[in-house]
């Protein structure tokens, strides 16, 4: 037996004490580094204004003037959630709210039971900048007021298909979309989880129930074997972008403008809005900004909402958010010539009313889920 086989053992107490000391120091330093500083907090979704050429400085460019004027630190908290998730979070925090303003609740979400419970109505002083149709489409009670808006429509990749290979794209109908050929190259989003997906479902329901007078469920029955339904917009986009068999997708009417801006050439994305009897239809999504109920700084919050309707913020929306600014004072960049404009289509929002949606939304979503899981 040599001493090598029985090495001297150190007292484990020192090792334990060392580990404890190191852990305490590490934890304490993380705690200090990440310690919260008092701030004016705005909740929004994860992709808010990050689509421009310099997303790192967008908050400074958009809200720097407000910070100077009121001497506060504005923190745009892009929660890693979509608007539904943000409302769920506001609800969870309702006993002790930390946010003052919320941006991103849209004209369908506001109809959902319980959403208004986390908000406080407020009418901005400069509300006249916003077209009253938009205000009424979003929320006549002003729990939220419009921040931006956009059309939800079918887009396609011109590298894969075009109006020569598929003439029906020029005047696309739901009947065209239901043919196995088009349906199997079409991706949409789950209306239960995604706002463009829900807008598309409402588009389809409005066209079938209101324009054609037929049962909307038939269409989904006929396409469910072919159509690709992804949980959210990003998953759908990834599929549309990477899978050569998927050439069409439910997305936004500004996508060709984005395509042109990103590539610096003519867009490779085109729009095929839904037609019915010679008229073009689309659903408009209006995203709102609102006051959080019982938030810590209500006066500052009201001033902030007013500020968000000013040109400083509104003119940054087109190239950073890829939506139309709510304020009619804001000018649009040239690349928006490629986008489809709301005045080029008939809005389905006028056909399918807020009351109808409020009453039927849950039932429609349940029916949809039953068809798709059936």
């Amino acid at each position: 037996m040599t001493s090598q086989q029985y090495p001297t053992r150190r007292n484990p107490k020192f090792l334990i004490a060392g580990v404890v000391v190191v852990s305490v120091i590490v934890i304490a330093s993380i705690a200090i580094i990440t310690a919260p500083r008092p701030k004016f907090i705005v909740y929004t979704y994860d992709s808010f204004m990050v689509w421009g050429d310099d997303p790192d400085t967008i908050d400074e460019r958009a809200f720097g003037a407000f910070e100077k004027q009121f001497g506060v630190d504005v923190e745009i908290v892009r929660l890693n959630l979509d608007a539904n998730g943000i409302v769920a979070r506001l609800k969870a925090e309702s006993a002790n709210p930390v946010a003052d303003v919320v941006i991103g609740i849209d004209n369908i979400l506001i109809l959902q039971e319980g959403v208004k419970d986390v908000l406080e109505p407020y009418t901005p002083e400069n509300i006249s900048f916003v077209n009253s149709d938009l205000i009424n489409a979003l929320d006549p009670e002003h729990y939220i007021v419009p921040f931006d808006y956009g059309l939800v429509t079918v887009i396609y990749s011109t590298e894969l298909i075009n109006t020569t290979t598929h003439p029906e794209l020029a005047e696309l109908t739901f009947t065209d979309l239901a043919t196995p050929d088009l349906a199997s190259s079409f991706v949409t989003e789950n209306p239960q989880f995604s706002s463009p997906g829900l807008a598309f479902l409402l588009t389809q329901i409005a066209v079938y129930e209101k324009l054609m007078g037929e049962d909307w469920k038939q269409w989904w029955q006929s396409v469910k074997e072919y159509i690709d339904v992804q949980p959210g917009w990003s998953e759908a986009w990834a599929k549309w972008d990477s899978d050569p068999t998927i050439s069409m997708m439910v997305s936004y009417g500004t996508d060709p403008a984005y395509s042109a801006w990103a590539s610096g050439t003519a867009p490779t994305t085109a729009i095929a809005p839904i037609h019915h009897s010679g008229t073009t239809y689309a659903w408009v999504q209006v995203e709102g900004i609102g006051l959080v109920k019982n938030g810590p700084n209500p006066d500052l919050a009201k001033a902030f909402i007013d500020y968000c309707l000013s040109d400083t913020v509104q003119e940054l929306i087109p190239l950073n958010q890829w939506m139309f600014p709510a304020s009619s004072h804001a000018t649009l960049p040239a690349v928006y010539d490629y986008a489809i404009h709301p005045n080029e289509v008939s809005l389905l929002n006028n056909i399918l009313t807020r009351t109808e949606i409020e009453q039927n939304l849950t039932a429609w979503l349940d029916d949809w889920a039953a068809i798709m899981t059936g």
């Binding site: 086989q5 053992r9 484990p12 852990s23 590490v26 934890i27 993380i30 990440t34 310690a35 919260p36 994860d46 992709s47 990050v50 689509w51 997303p55 790192d56 908050d59 908290v77 929660l79 890693n80 959630l81 539904n84 998730g85 409302v87 769920a88 979070r89 609800k91 969870a92 925090e93 006993a95 002790n96 930390v98 959902q112 039971e113 959403v115 789950n190 239960q192 989880f193 469910k224 690709d228 339904v229 992804q230 949980p231 917009w233 990003s234 998953e235 986009w237 990834a238 972008d241 990477s242 899978d243 050569p244 068999t245 849950t362 349940d366 889920a369 039953a370 798709m372 899981t373 059936g374």
Partner: protein, 550 residues
């Protein structure tokens, strides 16, 4: 079996983890469920349970979990044998590589999986080339088949690791004696090997089943809204502020998982006569294998390589290849060093920090829990076991919501939530760590501990120099799982985190959302590599301490 002298089986040390579990799991979740159900006590149950969607969801949830577990066991078991018994160069590398799938965040698995098995994926392109057809030939990624395959891919490592941790402790003398007595291989398996690995195999299968039963992002992405697990439906209900529905579903889910835990504990307690052994590993070199074993193991290895490394290769490709522009780039890796909005440095640091803290905390809680599971006091062991398994049976969305309204908001931690994130990540990895440590504890020969006492070791010395080194392989396995679960955890972190607290898993999700595929791919690659090297180092270390001379 001798009871260790001088040890109170339900000692004060296990009270701390129990208190943590009660405060951070039992209370918040009961709070959410009770509040939700009080919202509409009778109506919620009737509406939820009578819905054909819910009924289909329940049936599908159980069936896919059963199928996935079965497939993972069938494919994982030979792997556990090969990895324990076969001696070959680069074994620790292979062992670490096989673990990689388990640590990938589900969203990354989905991307890798689609690129490998989906329409237009690597396998499909290969078959299209063979068939000389321009049409897509095969799509292995959608529907129930895709979900089961993805779950299998995800869980094979769990089976391999847990079973081989037990197999490594099988005394070779027993097998040699059997061989001398001329038993067949099947008899050897049936009477010697199987009884030895039975507990760990059963434990691993239960874990896999629970994992698939609770599955969320994979089903969400591959199920294409046609197929939902209960967890997906809970998520949906919370988003619609339907707390009554969410609570009903969470309660149902909990009843199923707790019944499973009960069966599992019952089955385990009938095995009290079990005598563990501490011994050397019996190994075999490839050359010495009989021919037909050689062929089967090569075929098997090829299958596993395609299934397990395929999606991983797809991830490597996506970390340097931008499909949007169609060019190779290192932008994704540069982004990981950037500190701006959407930069990867903060999430990377957060991920490493939280996961390391969560791993330490997990071990700290898991060791006393694993010890107290051996308690002979009536009811203590089974109560603790179910308490430990509880996090596995609770939907992480319900847990996150509970932590939010019962802990974070009342304590004013809303703008400062990282301690809660670490706790959530700890809770989620705890059952895995406790199991791994428990298994290796059971396999310690009590004689050795008694010898240490006889030789004059104090309790403290015996614990640190004899017991813990023997448990070290189990602790390392536990630590690896805790780390993996923490770094991959998404749904709870997503709900609790503010932007300054985001982890790499969440960042990947965001990158995919804003079309930054290379950034997402590079982040996924880094997570995989961090875990891979952590395992590699742990493997080396555990070989030294566990395989030491008898």
């Amino acid at each position: 079996m001798k009871i260790l002298r001088g040890r109170d089986p339900f000692s004060l040390t296990s009270l701390f983890p129990v208190a943590i579990l009660i405060i951070f799991v039992v209370l918040p979740v009961s709070y959410v469920i009770i509040i939700g159900i009080m919202d509409d006590p009778v109506g919620a149950f009737i509406t939820t349970l009578s819905s054909p969607v819910t009924q289909r969801t329940i049936i599908f949830t159980v069936l896919q979990a059963l199928a996935s577990t079965l497939l993972a066991v069938i494919l994982g078991l030979p792997g556990a044998f090969l990895l324990t018994r076969l001696e070959f160069r680069g074994k620790s590398l292979v062992r670490a590589l096989i673990l990689v799938p388990f640590v990938l965040p589900p969203i990354v698995v989905v991307v890798g999986f689609l690129r490998m098995f989906g329409r237009g994926g690597i396998i499909d392109s290969f078959l299209m080339l063979l068939a000389g057809s321009g049409q897509s030939v095969i799509d292995l990624s959608s529907g129930i088949f895709g979900i089961v395959l993805a779950h299998t891919f995800y869980n094979i490592p769990l089976i391999i690791l847990l079973v081989s941790a037990s197999l490594i402790r099988l005394n070779p003398e027993v097998e040699e004696s059997a061989e001398i007595l001329g038993v067949s291989n099947w008899q050897k398996f049936r009477h010697i090997i199987f009884p030895h690995i039975r507990r760990s195999l059963f434990a691993a299968s239960i874990l896999v089943f629970l994992f698939c039963f609770m599955s969320f992002p994979i089903v969400l992405a591959l199920g294409q809204s046609r197929l939902m697990t209960i967890e997906v439906q809970i998520f949906h209900a919370f988003r619609e502020l339907d707390y009554a529905g969410a609570s009903t579903l969470a309660l149902m889910q909990l009843l199923v998982t707790l019944s499973l835990a009960y069966i599992y504990i019952k089955a385990g307690s009938s095995d009290n006569e079990y005598m563990g052994s501490t011994s050397e590993i019996k190994t075999l070199s490839f050359q010495k294998m009989p021919m037909r074993y050689k062929v089967t193991s090569i075929v098997y290895s090829l299958l596993i390589i395609v299934l397990v490394t395929g999606p991983f290769i797809a991830i490597i490709e996506s970390s340097i290849y931008d499909p949007y522009v169609g060019e190779f780039t290192l932008r994704g890796f540069a982004n990981l060093l950037s500190t701006g909005i959407g930069g990867g440095l903060l999430p990377l640091m957060n991920s490493l920090m939280y996961s390391t803290l969560a791993t330490l905390l997990t071990l700290f809680l898991a060791i006393p829990l694993a010890y107290s599971h051996r308690s002979k006091t009536y009811g203590v062991s089974s109560t603790l076991s179910s308490l430990t398994l509880l996090p596995l049976g609770i939907s992480s969305i319900t847990l996150a919501y509970g932590l939010m309204i019962a802990i974070t908001v009342p304590l004013g931690l809303t703008t400062y939530p990282w301690p809660i994130i670490v706790i959530a990540q700890t809770i989620i990895g705890l059952p895995f760590a406790v199991r791994a440590i428990e298994v290796s504890l059971q396999n310690i020969d009590p004689e050795i501990l008694d010898q240490a006492t006889v030789l004059g070791a104090s309790r403290f010395q015996r614990l640190f120099f004899v017991e813990l080194p023997l448990v070290a392989p189990g602790m390392l396995v536990g630590a690896v799982f805790a780390f993996a679960m923490a770094i991959g955890e998404m749904s709870a972190t997503l709900f609790i985190a503010l932007p300054q607290n985001i982890t790499l898993s969440i960042a990947i999700y965001q990158y995919l959302g804003v079309r930054k595929f290379v950034e997402a791919g590079a982040s996924a690659f880094v997570i995989a590599m961090v875990c891979f090297f952590a395992f590699l180092i742990l493997e080396r270390y555990s070989d030294v301490t566990a395989g030491g001379s008898p």
